[in-house]
Symmetry: C2
Subunit: 237 residues, 2 copies
């Protein structure tokens, strides 16, 4: 039996990491939905970078650059972190450097970790069925790694982790304690993701006035079948 | 308004800690119930220690010593970590040094933290109403600090945190995102703590055969009104 585990904060990654596993990186609102959208719109590749200045340096190399800090677009960047930015018109066959408050930090944490033979893939509600199929057809343990919010646990990534674990449950996967915990959060949502998340997150509630469309998009299942993965320093698909 | 926050793993403490707060340390199964039971049985004081050898050194100073590693009593110790050890017959007016896999490590983490003016108190189901009254009658923010299991998130401490936050909700307290998350776990339990925890924790399920009585005791509300607190290196009441 393979194992599904859930790590609720990137600061806990070292306690959950193992060799020869698939790590599903999730920053449900909004980085991982944006990355999936960009690949759906046929971006050529994405380089996730942790800091703003490194992202800027890619501009001179012909990349488009996208990023946010605390939810806001960074000055001088081509895009913020709204998935609606990443249409075919803007991104097809282009190279993108991307930095966000949480998501891209998490990717780099896994890449620079000491675990061997870890496959890192990007998970979001918008590609969740494709993700499920991908995970069913490989032979490794699965770790769903939540980006959280500045190392604190957040509700939307926990809910997503529960939803994905729920989809894989019983299909030759054993669930860890934290996977069960996440499933309880998913079940508590009654599949009303948007209302549930806003009722439980003062942080997102505050932003929902001007980001409602983004949030609803990020919480929609199966808008794409792409499963972006990390390979030799770049995200590709 | 005061704030209730929940930290689901001691490894995340630095991201949740703040000055001038009350930290409720919780290791629901079993350390915090054992500590409360010992004070209910009129132990004079408890010194929480992180390692086995330090605990042993207290034996020569006339202390009783108690402790476990991975759930098992340590060789040569007077007691393990079962709350049933701590009766008036064994513990009244005695001094106790105590070390556990998770709980006492967490206490020492808070004590050695850099936050100023932090009150550290011990929370468990068995003193939960007394705890609620204590927290209502002070003017500080509350952080419920779960001991977890070897820095991973666990179900029983999360459930307890949710239960306590639920009791305080609406009573001039604002709930953080992780407090809401914990409340969802409490609500999902339907107040059937024992069955819910065993269904969601392979770790506790495995141990339940020989620790059922301990678990059920630790999950019983309001067996005592003591609220142990930390003062100058010792736990007292």
């Amino acid at each position: 039996m393979r194992n599904i585990n859930v790590c609720l904060s990137p600061a806990l990654y070292e306690f959950y990491a193992e060799d020869d596993s698939v790590v599903v990186m999730i920053d449900a609102i909004r980085a991982s939905a944006s990355i999936c959208t960009a690949f759906h719109s046929q971006v050529e590749l994405i380089i996730p970078v942790s800091d703003v200045e490194t992202a800027r340096s890619y501009k001179e190399k012909g990349f488009l650059i996208a990023g946010e800090r605390d939810g806001y677009k960074i000055e001088g960047f081509d895009f913020g972190n709204s998935p609606f930015n990443f249409t075919e018109d803007t991104i097809k066959n282009k190279k993108l450097a991307f930095t966000t408050t949480n998501g891209t930090q998490v990717i780099n944490k896994v890449i620079n970790g000491t675990q061997r033979n870890v496959n890192l893939i990007i998970g979001s509600f918008i590609n969740i069925s494709a993700l499920k199929e991908y995970l069913l057809h490989q032979e490794k343990n699965v770790l769903i790694l939540c980006s959280g919010w500045k190392n604190s646990v957040n509700i939307e990534d926990t809910l997503f982790a529960g939803r994905l674990a729920y989809l894989l449950k019983g299909k030759s996967f054993e669930l860890s304690e934290s996977a069960n915990l996440a499933i309880q959060i998913y079940l508590a949502s009654g599949n009303s993701y948007y209302d549930f998340i806003l009722n439980n997150s003062p942080r997102l509630k505050e932003k929902s006035e001007f980001l409602e469309a983004d949030f609803k998009y990020c919480l929609s299942e199966n808008l794409t079948t792409v499963v972006p993965f990390f390979n030799k320093g770049i995200l590709t698909c």
